[in-house]
C-alpha cells in the first residue's frame, strides 16, 4: 500500500521535473505569473467594463443589468454634458501635450548644455513628475485660491492687475489653469526622455554641420530634430494617452466645474457611475476613450516595429 503511494508520488515529481526541463515548459511556467496578473488586473476589468457598458446596470440594484446593446453610447451622443466633455478632453490633451513637447524640448536643450551642477539640476527638474499628482494638485489648489492665491498676490503687488484673478471660476480660465498644472507636471517627462535621446546623437554630426556654416538654429532643425524624431514620437503618443485618461488634477481642482467646462472622460465617468449610480452609462463613457487611445497605441507600436 505504502509503496504504491510512494511510487505514484515519485512519478508525479518526475513528470514535473521533465516539464521544467523542457525549454517550452520552463518558458510557460516562468511567464505564468505575469499572465495571471494581466488577466486578473487588466483583462477581467476590461471585459467587465465592456459588459457593463452594454447594459443598463445601476449601482446597488440587483434587478438591473439588462442587455441594451449600444443604447448607452447612443444616449451619450445625445447628451450635452457628454459632448462638452469630449471637447474638453481633446482641448485639454492636445493643448497640454503641445506645450509639454515644446517646453520639454527646451528643457532638454538647456540641460544638454549645462555642465555646472549637472546632476543637481536634472534631479530638481524631475521633481514635479515624481511628486504624486494628487498631492501636487492640492498645492495648486492653494495657488489658485480665490483669496490667498500667490499668483494673484504677486501680480497685484507688481501692479499688473487691479483685482484678484478668479482662476477656477470661468470656463476659459479654469481650463487654462488645469492645463497649466498638467503641463507643469509633464515637462520633466519630455525633458528627460528627449535629453536621453539627444545624448545618443553623435557629436561629429554637429561638428560637420558647423564646418558647413550651420548656426544653432540650423543645427537644431537639420540635425537634432530629425534624429530625435523617433523618441519624440513615442514620448508624445505616450503622453497623449496619459493626458486623455487624466483624472486627479480635475478631481482635486474643479470637480468638472464651472458648469462642466473642465469635465474629462474619466471624471465624468466617475461622477456618472460612482456618484450618480449609473454603472452602465459610466462604463460607456470610459470606453469612449478606448478607440482613440487604441489608434494612438497602434501608431506607436507600428512605428516601433518599423524601426526594428
Amino acid at each position: 500500500m505504502q509503496s504504491t503511494f510512494q511510487s505514484k508520488h515519485f512519478t508525479r515529481l518526475q513528470r514535473l521535473g521533465d516539464w521544467l526541463n523542457s525549454e517550452r515548459g520552463l518558458g510557460y511556467t516562468l511567464v505564468a505569473p505575469a499572465v495571471i496578473l494581466l488577466l486578473g488586473l487588466i483583462a477581467y476589468p476590461f471585459c467587465l467594463s465592456i459588459y457593463l457598458s452594454l447594459s443598463d446596470r445601476l449601482l446597488a440594484v440587483a434587478s438591473s443589468g439588462r442587455f441594451i446593446g449600444l443604447g448607452n453610447f447612443i444616449n451619450l451622443l445625445d447628451d450635452s454634458i457628454f459632448r462638452q466633455s469630449v471637447w474638453n478632453t481633446f482641448n485639454y490633451a492636445f493643448v497640454s501635450v503641445f506645450f509639454k513637447l515644446v517646453l520639454g524640448m527646451l528643457m532638454a536643450l538647456v540641460l544638454n548644455e549645462i555642465t555646472f551642477l549637472k546632476n543637481f539640476f536634472r534631479g530638481m527638474l524631475l521633481l514635479p513628475w515624481i511628486v504624486p499628482t494628487s498631492l501636487s494638485a492640492l498645492g495648486w489648489l492653494w495657488l489658485y485660491d480665490s483669496q490667498y492665491s500667490v499668483f494673484s498676490w504677486i501680480l497685484l503687488n507688481l501692479g499688473l492687475i487691479q483685482e484678484k484673478i478668479i482662476w477656477l471660476g470661468s470656463p476659459v480660465m479654469a481650463m487654462l489653469s488645469i492645463q497649466l498644472v498638467n503641463i507643469w507636471r509633464g515637462i520633466p517627462f519630455f525633458g528627460i526622455s528627449l535629453l536621453a535621446g539627444m545624448q545618443t546623437i553623435s557629436q561629429e554630426l554637429y561638428e560637420a554641420a558647423e564646418i558647413d556654416g550651420a548656426n544653432a538654429w540650423h543645427r537644431f532643425w537639420q540635425v537634432t530634430w530629425p534624429l530625435l524624431m523617433p523618441v519624440t514620437l513615442v514620448v508624445t503618443l505616450f503622453s497623449l494617452v496619459q493626458t486623455f485618461a487624466d483624472f486627479q488634477i480635475v478631481y482635486v481642482l474643479t470637480r468638472g466645474g464651472p458648469v462642466n467646462s473642465t469635465h474629462l472622460f474619466a471624471t465624468l465617468a466617475h461622477q456618472t457611475a460612482i456618484l450618480s449610480g449609473k454603472l452602465g452609462e459610466g462604463a460607456a463613457i470610459s470606453l469612449f476613450m478606448f478607440p482613440m487611445l487604441a489608434v494612438a497605441i497602434i501608431l506607436q507600436l507600428r512605428y516601433l516595429q518599423q524601426r526594428d
Binding site: 446597488a60 485660491d145 480665490s146 471660476g169 464651472p258 461622477q271 456618484l275 449610480g277
Partner: protein, 475 residues
C-alpha cells in the same frame, strides 16, 4: 479623579493645552463625557457662553443584552468642521466598544469620500458595517440596506418625533426606514452687523429683496460685498441654489417623482433674482468657491454676507482668541452675527445639509450596529457631542429644540440657528424619488442652471438646458 480634573482644567484655561488634547486626556483619565462637555463649555473663549447644565442620565433604562460582533464593528463617519466634536465622537465609539467587550474601528471622512466608500461597499458587498451618507443618498443604496425602522421609531417616540426632513432622507415609498437620520448642520446667513450699521441697517434682512437692497448699498460705499457660492460646493453651494429655487416657488419635479416641472415662471423669477444679486452685490469669486472658500473669505474680512453653518463664527472666534490677535480680527468677530434665511415669495424653504447612518445588509453585525446606533443616539452620548459641535451637528429630533444644553439656547450668537430643520428639504422636494433626485444632485443640474444664467446664458436657455437634463433623469 477630581484632582486630575482640576489640573487639566487649569491647563486648558491657561492655554497650555488645546481643547482636542483636553478631551482626549480627560476621557483617558476617566472623566465622564457630560463632565467634559460641561468643562469645555464653561472654558469657551467667548464671553457670551454660559455654563451648560450637564445632561441627566435617563432613569429606568433596562440594560440591553450584550451585542455579538464578528471580527470588529467598522464604521465610516462624517468628520465635523468643528474639530472638538470629532474627538468626542471617537471617545464615545471606543467607550461603547469597551463597555461591550467589542473592538470598534472608527474612521472619520469628508462627504465626498463617504459617497465613494458607500457606493463601492454597496456594489461589492464588502466594507464597513456603518457609513454616514449625505442628504437623500440612502435611496441610492436602498436595496442593499438593513431595515432601521425599529431603531428610528424608538428614537422618534423617545425624543419628540422626527422632522419631515428626516423622513425625506430615509423613508422611501415603502414606508420603511432605510437609514437612521444622524444630524443636520443648521445653516444661517452670516453677516457683519458692523458693516450693516454703516449703511443704515440695524437688523438683518427679512426678505431676499431687502438683502439685495442692503447689498447694493454696501457696494455703493465700497464695503465688502455679498458672497454665495455658485460653484460645485456640495454644502454651501447646494444650500444657496436649492433654497433660492424653492423659496421662489420653483421645483425640479412634481410630487409624483416623474413629471419634470422646472420650466416654470417661478424658476425664471428665481434665476432672474439670483442673476441680479450676483451682478449687483456679489464678489465674482463665488464662481469658484468651494465649501471652505466662503469661510476664509468671511473670516479674512473680504465679504460682508454669506451662508454657512456655525463654522465661520467658530473660526472667527478662534482667530480673535489667540493672544495678540490683531484688532481687526477682534472687531470682525464682534461684528459677526447670524440671521435666519430671508424669505422668498413662496416662503422660507432651505436645502439642509444632513447625514444619515446606513447599515449594509451584507454586514454580519447588523444587530450590533443597531445596538451601537441606539447607544450613539441616546442622550448621554448625544449631549456632549451636540454641545461640542456648536449647532454644526444637531439631531433631527424635535425634542432637542428646547433643551437648555443646546448651543442655540445656551450661546446667544447661535440663537438664529434654532430648529432650522423645520424649514429643511432635500433635492427632489416634494417627491420621494430620492434616487433620481440624488442623480440630479450629483450632476449639479440646479447649481449649473443658476451658474450658467449668471455667466451669460439667458434665463430661458438655462431652464431649457436643466429641463432637458432632468427629463433624462426622471424618466
Amino acid at each position: 479623579m477630581e484632582q486630575i480634573d482640576r489640573s487639566l482644567v487649569k491647563r486648558l484655561q491657561e492655554g497650555k493645552m488645546t481643547r482636542r488634547e483636553f478631551i482626549v486626556t480627560a476621557a483617558a483619565a476617566g472623566v465622564s463625557l457630560s463632565g467634559i462637555a460641561g468643562i469645555l463649555a464653561s472654558c469657551a473663549p467667548t464671553p457670551t457662553a454660559t455654563a451648560v447644565p450637564v445632561a441627566p442620565k435617563p432613569a429606568g433604562t433596562v440594560a440591553p443584552p450584550k451585542p455579538v460582533v464578528t471580527d470588529k464593528l467598522r464604521m465610516k463617519l462624517r468628520s465635523s468642521f468643528i474639530t472638538e466634536g470629532n474627538e468626542v465622537l471617537k471617545v464615545v465609539a471606543q467607550q461603547w466598544g469597551k463597555e461591550n467587550g467589542v473592538s470598534v474601528e472608527v474612521d472619520l471622512a469628508g462627504m465626498g469620500d463617504l459617497q465613494t466608500i458607500a457606493g463601492t461597499a454597496a456594489e461589492t458587498g464588502a466594507g464597513p458595517d456603518i457609513v454616514e451618507v449625505f442628504v437623500n443618498t440612502p435611496h441610492v443604496y436602498a436595496e442593499k440596506l438593513a431595515d432601521m425602522s425599529d431603531v428610528a421609531n424608538e428614537l422618534g417616540a423617545k425624543f419628540g418625533g422626527w422632522y419631515d426632513l428626516a423622513k425625506e432622507a430615509c423613508v422611501p415609498a415603502s414606508g420603511k426606514w432605510i437609514g437612521l437620520p444622524r444630524f443636520y448642520a443648521a445653516h444661517c446667513i452670516v453677516y457683519r452687523a458692523d458693516l450693516f450699521k454703516q449703511v443704515g441697517h440695524d437688523k438683518p434682512a427679512e426678505t431676499w429683496d431687502e438683502l439685495l437692497a442692503i447689498g447694493k448699498k454696501l457696494k455703493e460705499k465700497k464695503l465688502p460685498p455679498l458672497g454665495f457660492s455658485l460653484a460645485h460646493a456640495v454644502g454651501d453651494g447646494s444650500n444657496f441654489v436649492y433654497s433660492m429655487l424653492w423659496s421662489f416657488g420653483g421645483r425640479e419635479v412634481d410630487k409624483d417623482g416623474k413629471t419634470v416641472v422646472i420650466n416654470s415662471a417661478e424658476t425664471a423669477k428665481a434665476i432672474d433674482f439670483v442673476r441680479t444679486l450676483f451682478q449687483e452685490t456679489m464678489t465674482p469669486a463665488v464662481l469658484q468657491w468651494t465649501d471652505a472658500e466662503n469661510n476664509r473669505a468671511f473670516v479674512s474680512g473680504e465679504v460682508a454676507v454669506t451662508n454657512n453653518a456655525s463654522s465661520i463664527w467658530w473660526q472667527a472666534r478662534n482667530v480673535q482668541s489667540i493672544v495678540g490677535a490683531p484688532k481687526n480680527a477682534v472687531d470682525l468677530f464682534n461684528g459677526t452675527q447670524h440671521a435666519l434665511y430671508p424669505a422668498g415669495p413662496a416662503g422660507r424653504l432651505l436645502f439642509t445639509e444632513m447625514m444619515s447612518s446606513i447599515v449594509f445588509s451584507y454586514s454580519k453585525n447588523v444587530d450590533a450596529a443597531k445596538a451601537f446606533l441606539r447607544y450613539l443616539n441616546d442622550r448621554p452620548q448625544m449631549d456632549p457631542w451636540v454641545q461640542a459641535n456648536l449647532t454644526f451637528c444637531t439631531p433631527l429630533l424635535k425634542g432637542y429644540e428646547e433643551l437648555p444644553l443646546m448651543p442655540w439656547n445656551s450661546i446667544p450668537p447661535l440663537r438664529p440657528f434654532k430648529a432650522a430643520a423645520q424649514y429643511g428639504h432635500l433635492p427632489g422636494y416634494p417627491s420621494t424619488n430620492g434616487r433620481a433626485a440624488g442623480e440630479a444632485f450629483n450632476k449639479w443640474i440646479v447649481h449649473d442652471m443658476f451658474a450658467k444664467a449668471c455667466t451669460g446664458t439667458s434665463t430661458k436657455d438655462a431652464i431649457v438646458w436643466a429641463e432637458e437634463q432632468l427629463k433624462k433623469i426622471y424618466k
